[in-house]
Symmetry: C2
Subunit: 243 residues, 2 copies
DNA sequence: GCGATTCAAATGCCAGACAATTAGAACCCG
DNA sequence: CGGGTTCTAATTGTCTGGCATTTGAATCGC
């Protein structure tokens, strides 16, 4: 694990990269303790603050965790899906908001990915997943719900659908795509009629999943995508006309 | 933007979180310059090293970039798909290697997601994407290729297929899934016969994409998944028997 | 033996300083 | 007056040294 002192890049970035590579290549294994900050400083021939900056970089990516105290130090983190998910969502959200991705493109991606899970979910979902979906549909049908709460429930519904596939890799990937869409969805004002149509389609999906019917689930999802795209288009068109 | 000095969490983590929230909520816009480290230190009533640790955390997530010099400072980064992709791949790779995800699960997720792109790619792929796919197929058919190089070419082929959908959100999500599989694929030893079958299926996919035939593309992809799963199973079984 | 105390190691944080870099201002000269 | 050069100020990058806090373990007293 070496760094190049003549490299113009930040020393802390180089050190972070060296340690990251060691973790990825398996040179450092999960729960292994890194040398103390003082020892690392000596190893890389830099000061302790520089080492600390490097460690903070790694901590920001959940690659390591730190503990204080006598047996403390920096430890290689077991990167769990739960820990990685918030970062994935944050990144996806920012990517959408900063890159002028059209609603259409984001929506297409989301439903394309979701359709990938749907047949698996119809086949494998547990009663729990189905119950969550039904509960969210019920929540969505309550009057007086704000648009934000409606969208949040929509996200919960779709996450239950995705989780039903029982594949953590899929759930992880989809969480980013689905959650990142929420700010875009929140820009839409839903009329009572819009909500009714969406709830109907959600019910269709839940029914198909309950029946274990992958093809029907796919069809209902596609209908929901069409509905969502049309709705967004009309909302944005109306907004453009008003201004 | 405030922090709680009584919070047990690290001050640098709190500060990083506060700035991150400001970026996500739109309080800080792209390319906006943050206050200097000295000013931030005063604002949050902490020392400059603490502020620096916070900024490094954000830099590790590509949320900010820093410039030295007179007009330097920390700037809110426009998070691009290109910049986010390597992190996405690193995270996905570590998730697979650290969580005892079975080859079967990872492979299922990858092909499920890829099938989501396939019809779109068949419809929209440019000649460039097709040419890349053909070129990779040609590379794969060369004798003397190491298993690693074969897998790398496989990844390139599939990325071209995914990129053909022309949806950056899909490409971003899929890059993680496809690239993260590579270390797992590299564990497989391919016989000449294995390669020939894979190349045949790749050619089927390329042909279907060229014809703009989404359904056939899907079928070929599914056949490739089955082939891959079978191959992996036999390789792992042989390995288990040998040991 | 067991509980309380002390100790040592490690991270978290701070103050101050210097080096390196960079853009812009000031200056000089033709 | 214009162009090139130098100077300067601002800012990040790094270092030194130190203190505070936490925490496990060793030690001591009972």
């Amino acid at each position: 694990m070496k760094i190049d002192p003549k490299n113009p890049a930040d020393l802390s970035a180089q050190i972070a990269g060296a340690i990251r590579d060691a973790i990825i290549s398996g040179g450092l294994i999960v729960d292994e303790r890194l040398p103390s900050e003082a020892e690392l400083a000596e190893q890389f021939d830099v000061s302790r603050p520089t080492v600390r900056e490097a460690l903070k970089r790694l901590a920001a990516q959940s690659l390591i965790r730190t503990q204080r105290g006598a047996t403390g130090g920096a430890f290689v983190n077991r990167l769990s899906f739960e820990a990685a998910q918030p970062q994935q969502i944050t990144t996806s959200t920012l990517l959408l908001s900063m890159n002028a991705v059209s609603f259409e493109t984001a929506c297409e991606a989301r439903y394309a990915l979701e359709r990938a899970c749907a047949p698996l979910s119809a086949e494998r979902r547990t009663p729990d997943h189905l119950a969550t979906m039904r509960a969210e549909i019920h929540r969505q049908s309550q009057p007086g719900l704000t648009d934000e709460a409606f969208c949040a429930s929509d996200v919960a519904f779709h996450r239950a659908l995705v989780d039903g596939a029982g594949n953590p890799v899929l759930s992880y990937q989809l969480a980013g795509a689905v959650e990142a869409m929420q700010p875009l969805m929140n820009m839409i004002t839903f009329t009572a009629r819009d909500r009714a149509r969406i709830i109907t389609l959600h019910t269709d999906i839940a029914d198909a999943v309950e029946a274990g019917d992958g093809a029907t689930t796919l069809a209902a999802l596609t209908a929901l995508e069409t509905e969502t795209q049309d709705l967004a288009q009309s909302v944005f068109a109306a907004r453009a006309a008003r201004s």
